[in-house]
């Protein structure tokens, strides 16, 4: 097909390297997954502090959330990778810096989600289980957490997807993810349209798959 465009489409370089794109995408996925798990752990801790009833701990947890939610991920990434590294004299690998930035940013969002989930449960539940003789930890483990879990799954799914989108930024500090693969391809073959279309399609597909997975878990957890 002769086109009016001055651009010659060449899908060959992209299609020949589909395996590199998939490897890059896999890197994005596992980095996101690991950061997400860490963010959930930290976020849960922060959420418990926020409703702990101890004034200064609550204040600290609140400040943590407000501050970390206000920093753009790119700024945070540079701050960790270039700034913190030079101050404490540690050389983070790009992937480590990426995981730290994604984890801490994500933890501010998960903290708010867990707090909302914990607060949504009727106070009577905690009071009843305490008066039945369950310990504080037991109350959380057997009564509050199972109920919270059902509430937090959909928003946590959104956070995961947000982190996945954030993980594409890691290519800026030379992590070899799928965007980096596309960038290299563009430099070597000058096929910007094909290379970045491929990345966009993979990202849309990944988000669709994870959204579907979240909906599935949501349905499984729904009360009959």
């Amino acid at each position: 097909m002769t086109s009016l465009l001055a651009y010659d489409f060449a899908w060959g370089p992209v299609l020949d390297r589909w395996d590199l794109f998939l490897l890059g995408a896999w890197l994005d996925v596992w980095v996101t997954g690991l950061s997400f798990l860490l963010a959930c752990a930290i976020g849960f801790g922060v959420a418990v502090l926020r409703i702990s009833g101890i004034r200064w701990l609550q204040g600290a947890a609140f400040a943590y959330v407000q501050i970390l939610r206000g920093v753009p991920l790119l700024v945070f990434l540079y701050w960790v990778y270039f700034g913190i590294a030079i101050v404490i004299g540690v050389n983070f690998s790009p992937i480590q810096a990426g995981i730290v930035a994604l984890t801490l940013t994500g933890s501010a969002y998960t903290a708010e989600i867990f707090r909302g989930g914990l607060q949504a449960i009727d106070r009577g539940q905690a009071e009843a289980s305490r008066s039945l003789g369950l310990s504080r930890v037991g109350t959380y483990r057997h009564v509050l957490l199972p109920q919270t879990f059902r509430i937090v799954v959909p928003p946590l799914g959104n956070t995961f997807i947000g982190l996945l989108k954030g993980a594409t930024l890691l290519s800026i500090i030379a992590v070899h993810d799928m965007v980096r693969v596309a960038n290299d391809l563009n430099i070597n073959f000058f096929t910007p349209f094909e290379a970045f279309t491929a990345v966009a399609l993979i990202l849309v597909a990944l988000v669709a798959v994870f959204s579907a997975a979240v909906s599935f878990v949501e349905r499984m957890l729904r009360l009959p």
């Binding site: 206000g70 920093v71 700034g83 101050v87 989108k165 965007v179 349209f193 988000v207």
Partner: protein, 247 residues
């Protein structure tokens, strides 16, 4: 702990002028994208509620795709990909505005749609029964009520726009982030400069969030009075839309 690093905070005041200029670009970029995506988002939302099936489907695909893309990937696609195919040089600032606008209009569309959905069905029926046309029903009855509900969510979207706007620094826009990267290259003080930039973004975002909270309280004041069942705000909140993105 003894650090081997000597802080050079004195670099910050002497860079303040350059950073302030970058901040101005960030504000322009965000404000322009915010206004444009407010308008485009409304169009997309109306398309999603349109009677014609293909229009609805197209608007649905639009929101799904743009909410799935990260701004970074989209900026690269737009600035390098589309520009090469059509042989147009958008310029970095315009490319940033277009990318921010398109992506955020998809989120805005969902906020508008949820807000319109929160207006009670009877209102529409009553307006139509009173002889108002479809356009008039929307502009005089549904619209004003929906706007009240949508405003806090829309303002909160500005928070995401400001944060996301930092990403256009990678294609060379000299916004707050872009000027900071340049300064770091010459002054070699990454910790001090990125800290100041991070604090500036935090201050900006806390300001916008506070404004959003204030607006929400003001707009909800008349809704707070009694009545049965959830008010429009609660109905809107219970309407789940996928929006939170820690980017």
């Amino acid at each position: 702990m003894i650090l081997a690093y000597t802080f050079r905070w004195e670099l910050v005041p002497e860079s303040a002028g350059v950073l302030a200029h970058g901040l101005k670009v960030t504000l322009q970029l965000s404000a322009l994208s915010f206004v444009l995506s407010l308008a485009l988002g409304l169009v997309v939302a109306l398309c999603r509620l349109a009677p014609s099936r293909p229009v609805r489907a197209a608007a649905y695909v639009y929101t799904q795709i743009f909410r799935a893309l990260s701004l970074y990937v989209y900026v690269l696609f737009l600035y390098f990909g589309i520009a090469a195919v059509f042989g147009i040089d958008l310029g970095t600032f315009a490319a940033g505005v277009v990318a921010l606008t398109l992506l955020n209009s998809a989120y805005m569309a969902e906020i508008y749609r949820a807000a319109i959905g929160s207006v009670e069905h009877g209102q529409r029926e009553a307006a139509l029964a009173l002889g108002l046309g479809h356009t008039r029903t929307f502009s005089s009855v549904i619209g004003p009520q929906a706007v009240r509900v949508a405003v806090p969510g829309l303002v909160n979207q500005l928070v995401d726009i400001i944060k996301d706007s930092s990403i256009v620094a990678v294609i060379g826009v000299l916004d707050l982030m872009g000027t900071t990267i340049q300064l770091v290259n010459t002054k070699r003080a990454p910790f001090e400069l990125y800290t100041v930039t991070a604090l500036t973004y935090i201050a900006l975002i806390l300001l916008v969030s506070a404004a959003a909270a204030l607006l929400e309280r003001r707009l909800a004041r008349h809704l707070a009075s009694g009545g049965t069942g959830p008010g429009p705000l609660e109905r809107m909140r219970s309407f789940r839309f996928r929006g939170e993105a820690p980017a």
